[in-house]
């Protein structure tokens, strides 16, 4: 039987980088927040200590910190004429697991947004007309480049 838990204002699913930042903001705003996290916590000294975190075999090739597809995978095909089959081990993308599981192997380049990136809807409408953006799910951000510029 389902167990009824006390009601909260916000439930966060996942408590990594995004969840933790949201939780901080929401708690500061006075809301009651519950975060659900399926996996164990991790800390720098215990999980990627400088004495063993250089291990390319374990971390890169054996996917030690990533989701284990043995227990849950997905099927895929490249077009509708193929038969979808399970992905039997990780390869083309590497989903994380554990607290901050995506964050710990995240790497990217974050370019500074252009002024127009903040107002894609109005910018593209002004430039190409309302007809051109009718099928797109575009929105302007509630803040502008000028407000955020350091």
């Amino acid at each position: 039987m389902a167990k009824a838990m006390p009601k909260v204002d916000v439930v966060l699913v996942g408590f990594g980088w995004t969840g933790a930042i949201l939780a901080q903001q929401l708690c500061d705003a006075g809301l009651t927040v519950l975060a659900l996290e399926r996996a164990a916590s991790r800390t720098t000294p215990d999980n990627w200590a400088t004495t063993f975190d250089q291990d390319e075999l374990r971390y890169m090739w054996r996917h030690h910190l990533f989701q284990n597809v043995k227990y849950s995978t997905l099927t895929f095909r490249n077009n509708v004429n193929q038969t979808a089959l399970p992905m039997r081990h990780l390869g083309s993308f590497l989903p994380g697991t554990g607290v901050g599981g995506a964050g710990i192997h995240w790497n990217a380049q974050i370019w500074r947004w252009l002024e127009t990136d903040f107002k894609l809807k109005s910018h593209n409408e002004a430039r190409y007309g309302k007809q051109a953006t009718a099928d797109l799910t575009l929105q302007d951000m509630p803040v502008t480049y000028q407000e955020l510029e350091p």
Binding site: W61, F76, T83
Partner: protein, 259 residues
Amino acid sequence: MGQGPERHLNRREVLALGALGSAAAAEAVSGHDGMLGGPIRRYTDTLQWNEGLTDAPEAAEAGGGWRYLNDGEVGFLTAAVDRMIPPDPTGPSASEAGVVVFLDRQLAGEYGQGARFYLEGPWGKGTESQGYQSRFTPAQFYRHAIAAVEKAVGHSENGKAFKDLAADRQDALLKKMESGDLQLDGPITSKAFFAFFLQNVLEGYFSDPIYGGNKDAAAWKMIGFPGAHYDYSEWVTAYNQPVPVETVGLTGRNAWNRG
């Protein structure tokens, strides 16, 4: 206030000031030599380290004897890996560097048992882009593939085993496996096996000695890689320079262990 106009620092200026501050702090502890003579940076009173609870790697079982491979498989693998990486004046052959030991321990361990492979249905041949679609664990995959390769070799080479062939015949067969031209009985293609095998051979030759290959870090010494040091940040901009420090693996050096 001072003579200049009163103003607030903007964020960029604060960052620049922070960098200056760190440089000054580093200066204060000079006398401790880092790799390039830079100061050692110390981090204390931060996160606790829980000895015995760390997610440390498991070393391959030491000692002689095979944990998974049978004698015929050892014979095939030893001969094959030494054609892929033969001995030469720059470094040891694959088998001298322990690659067959690495393969044996990997196949006997959780990798070989498919601990991270999804091995349930639905099954299908799959396209190349759908990747591994065998029902076998990596250990079973090797067992079936080597048996099939030896069967094909026996047919074409007057009943001889792969290990008893001349080097140029072995090379020719490995090339036929790589291209998929060697026809095998059973569900595994020679091309699929070769790709899998080549990846594992490279892993064995170049991964940390803790896993049984790269014995005495010989492969790392050959390419001038000093191994699992804590921090190479001083070398990041030292382009095209050798790094003349002692090669070290994840087990560290005796000098680092407590008495």
